[in-house]
Assembly symmetry: C2
Homo-oligomer: 149 residues x 2
């Protein structure tokens, strides 16, 4: 189940994944960013100074964007599809060993990322936003307004 | 694909769902809350005054909790498994018609909820938290620290 892409460091621990999945996802579109390699991605997106990124929504869901212009900030969820899912203990670069749920690493049982972005502009079927840090082509799962406190 | 549980109001619009899913999820545990019926759930969780809720993690993932005690606030993701997924325009009670991505309604293509909670206590395989508003028994997808700004 794990990709050959990423090995385990000494001290990291993997578990057997469950035999079956419990629920399934639709990709509602893809994210366009300037970053083609993981090494280029910033560690955290910048809602002010970061580059414009684009949320390209599949035509099936375009009507679901109605009314989104009133929201200055949005929560974006996306799928970190390159990550292995079976590590319970990880050793992030330059840090001590920690449990997966004590980290925001993409390596986790369900590699769902959540970022808060600023809405910069709207084009047909596309949202222009700032604040992302993911690879170009990343599958998009959801867009929703940020809760008002 | 839609549950019989929820109808469409006049003016709401449903689309055909994609023929296939794109990715799949593991439930890593379940959430225990005081609310057994949707009508009992608060509209938004309260991290200060809300009741203690419990994140019960499957034994497979218990080691992934190591080090979580240092985080006062956590992001919890869970699966709103009762919701239909095919509405693009919705009319929330007492509000105007809006696109699904302009709402935090559970009715959306991928019904993933995200809440920020306060970590109150840790028991073996279980986190006690405040700030949730979901039904008892809700499937849990992920727990991660809140990003420091």
């Amino acid at each position: 189940m794990s990709t050959a892409d990423e090995g385990i460091r000494p001290g990291e621990i993997a578990v057997d994944l469950p035999a079956a999945f419990d629920a399934s996802l639709y990709f509602i579109g893809h994210i366009r960013t300037p970053w083609r390699e993981r090494e280029q991605c910033p560690r955290q997106g910048d809602r002010d100074a970061g580059p414009d990124c684009r949320l390209e929504i599949e035509p099936r869901w375009h009507q679901a964007l109605e009314g989104i212009a009133r929201h200055a900030e949005l929560q974006v969820m996306y799928w970190m599809n390159f990550a292995r899912r079976d590590l319970v203990l990880q050793i992030p670069r330059g840090e001590d060993k920690q449990g997966t749920f004590a980290l925001r690493s993409p390596v986790r049982p369900n590699p769902i990322a959540s970022s808060i972005v600023r809405l910069i502009g709207i084009e047909p079927g596309t949202l222009v936003v700032r604040g992302l840090d993911c690879l170009d082509g990343t599958p998009l799962l959801d867009v929703k307004p940020v809760h008002k406190p």
